[in-house]
Subunit: 140 residues, 4 copies
């Protein structure tokens, strides 16, 4: 059972730096947009997590840049949920240039759970386990 | 009695666009930094306002761009509090290039007060009136 | 003859500040996105202007904030070209919350023309005059 | 011979998200600021590299988040140059909260060299080898 989502976006004028390529820092936003799209599609967005009583801050991000995006380029972000037993949400990302299907960047993020008092949660929250069951990643 | 404050900053690599000049949108941040510096100097920063029970969201911003800042330029932001009787905080700004003292941009912002339930406040909050008195803008 | 364009967008997680509303500085980007959409629809985008030998930097921006956008809100940006005889591009903007059609913000921007050596251009470039003719704003 | 540099910065209002902590994406900017400070101290900044005929785009960034920074926190970024024989610039970063000296984040970046036609350079440029010699990392 593979959970994945795809979004497309267009490089904005203000995302391009003086080298005429997309500034590397914006990929963090591209990843976040992909995560949002995934969250919306699979009911695991920030608001859902928050309503369940948790924050899910990032504790790790890794981006590898393969080829540049220039102003006006259309790109496609593919995000894949990578299941594990820990109280973590791990995603893998690939961004492609829509023009030639070339890999632009790849990477991963890891999120943990914190309760509303900002305390780290060591076991997967019940709502998250149920989410896995509903999505065929765990048996009841 | 004039209340004003001065800060300096350096243009970051990621603030420069593909025209090799500072992207116009970053001036909103330069203004905010100036406002922060003023707030810290005169005890009117976001946290102080928040502790008093209010938010002070912007309702108006105006920026006029006079000459460009390029990567690495050092600039000076001057902020001046413009007193009025309404429940508003109005600031005027001027940004100068430190190299040649040339005017880079000028502008203004207007903030209003909202209580913690996001309701607009029509009369100047007591803490704000006291702030004016303490700073010689009103008599007791 | 009215030239206008409409785009929609969704408020990103990272565009919301600690007051839980969209940080005011992001509206500059919302305006830019609207300008891009207009430029694409009417062939007056940055790349077209650049290919004609010009930059079109902003010299003035004004934003009035009417009601907040929160995380996840969908919004609609309407941009209208305001013709004038000077060597300027003036746009007016209105942003609405798609949920209730409430006005979120309005504003304007003014752009001038600079040649590739960053010199201000005092007369409307020929390509721009032709653009006006093609769009019914001037007679041949 | 260890080449390192230290900068301090203050968390801006607009860098804090709706969880009231610094949005993870801003650490890319904190790293860039540290890199700039290093570049200025050791003559390896973007402009120097550019004047020598090269770009030095990032090809890899990794950030681990250890503890949050909140609005108004003062932080210290330590950057260390990690020498290698390849045509790469590798840096390691640690960010600390000035208040309690707690580790806030750590990470690394890798940059490569491209010539002005955006072609990857496979051997360390001469100016970079000379830079290493001048800084005691290589013998003449």
């Amino acid at each position: 059972m593979e959970l994945k989502s795809t979004t497309t976006f267009k490089v904005r004028f203000n995302e391009v730096d003086s080298m005429n390529i997309t500034w590397h820092g914006h990929y963090v936003t591209f990843f976040e947009d992909a995560r949002e799209a995934f969250g919306k599609e699979y009911n695991l967005d920030y608001m859902t997590i928050f309503r369940e009583g948790y924050y899910a801050p990032l504790v790790d991000i890794h981006v590898e840049y393969k080829s540049p995006l220039v102003y006006g380029d259309e790109a496609r972000a593919e995000i894949k949920y990578k299941d594990c037993d820990a109280a973590k949400i791990i995603f893998e990302y690939e961004i492609y240039n829509q023009k030639n299907n070339k890999l632009v960047a790849k990477g991963s993020t890891t999120q943990v759970f914190m309760d509303k008092d900002y305390r780290l949660v060591f076991y997967p929250p019940e709502f998250f386990v149920n989410w896995k069951i509903r999505n065929g990643l765990r048996e009841v």
